[in-house]
């Protein structure tokens, strides 16, 4: 192992020795322990590794379910069409049809109703705004619920009197008339 080869290894495979070629791991580690230049190369490679490690791709269960259902459906189509070349043609035709169909149609045929509702309720936005969008959606739920309930409460129209009706009733009521201080209302 020399500096040139060590540099090639870390520039290709990064700083983690587990990714280096198996038959060179030991000699590269030994070289690293005795060379300041090798250590410097490793530090440079670590920076790139750190950035590569910030990329987190973790397909959601809904995505994996959708793919699984799509595979099963495509294979079933092929089996129904026949075996051998017939099956292949059937499956390929099915995949082609799926690809031509708009994604919403494909999703509706593949997804369970509940998972579609959950996805609709909590869409998967770009990662930068996801951490803000979900708490905001959660905070808005009581508000939406309140508006919904409020719009569905119907007041009993028959129990509400118009202002004219109220005045007429007051005028007709004997007790109300008796309570009025007539002397104050009399015209002199």
């Amino acid at each position: 192992m020399n500096l040139e080869r060590f540099k090639q290894i870390v520039e290709s495979y990064g700083a983690e020795s587990a990714r280096w070629p198996i038959d060179e791991i030991e000699s590269a580690r030994l070289f690293l322990s005795s060379s300041a230049s090798a250590q410097q190369c490793l530090t440079e490679a670590e920076k790139i590794d750190q950035y590569l490690n910030t990329s987190r791709v973790d397909p959601s269960p809904a995505v994996l379910d959708r793919i699984m259902l799509g595979i099963e459906a495509a294979i079933e189509r092929g089996v129904e069409t026949g075996v051998g070349t017939g099956a292949k043609a059937g499956i390929e035709a099915g995949i082609a049809a799926d690809r031509k169909a708009p994604i919403s149609t494909r999703e509706s045929s593949n997804q369970h109703l509940i998972s579609r509702f959950i996805e609709w309720l909590t869409p998967t936005p770009p990662r930068a705004i996801a951490s803000f969008l979900r708490p905001t959606l959660a905070a808005c739920l009581p508000l939406v619920l309140g508006i919904g309930i409020g719009m569905n409460i119907s007041l009993d129209d028959e129990s509400i009197l118009s202002s004219n009706e109220e005045i007429q009733l007051l005028a007709l009521s004997q007790s109300t008339v008796n309570e009025w201080p007539t002397e104050e209302w009399s015209i002199e």
Partner: protein, 181 residues
């Protein structure tokens, strides 16, 4: 090449055992989906590619020889070829965000922005460089397997990786990212 449990699984699959195919799906669906998402930077495109990968595998299961290659290598090779077909058919925009990423509470805006910039930078590498980097860094593949998938020698893989990482470094330098830490 493939280990004994894998060979048994393939034998059962060829004998028409549906459970064997389901087991293969269970073992390889998530890693292949991650590979396709990283290659296309699009969940919907990745879904199509992975679906087609497994269907093609099912159709060609009799051609697969577990003595010559690992199952994961074979599946990645199909997925890689489909990614190349996809890039030829539709030039990637490189701007679509990764819908599939599940964010945990520990994520913060700064980290997410950096990850997003990295995904964009990865999309600016050549397909070969990106595929080599994804397979060796994220998928944990050994050099021989990655080289077999890309149909190149191990030496060529090494120089592809080196050029890819150098270009990535330049792209991240342009965005001032590598000087942050």
């Amino acid at each position: 090449m493939g280990n004994e449990p894998e060979r048994q699984l393939i034998r059962r699959l060829r004998a028409g055992d549906d459970a064997a195919f389901r087991q293969i799906l269970k073992d390889h669906l998530a890693p292949l989906t991650r590979y396709a998402i990283r290659m296309t930077n699009s969940t919907s495109d990745a879904e199509d590619i992975v679906q087609e990968t497994f269907v093609k595998f099912w159709l060609s299961k009799d051609q697969f020889n577990p003595e010559r290659a690992k199952l994961t290598t074979w599946l990645h090779r199909i997925a890689h070829n489909l990614c190349i077909d996809h890039f030829r058919a539709v030039r990637p925009s490189g701007t679509e965000q990764n819908e599939a990423t599940q964010l945990g509470p520990e994520n913060n805006y700064h980290e997410d922005a950096r990850a997003s910039m990295l995904d964009t930078a990865l999309m600016q590498l050549s397909e070969q460089q990106r595929s080599a980097l994804v397979m060796c860094h994220y998928q944990g593949m050994r050099q021989n397997d990655a080289a077999m998938i890309l149909k190149i020698s191990v030496d060529a893989l090494e120089s592809t990786l080196r050029r890819g990482r150098t270009k990535l470094r330049e792209l991240l330098d342009d965005q001032g990212l590598t000087n942050e830490t």
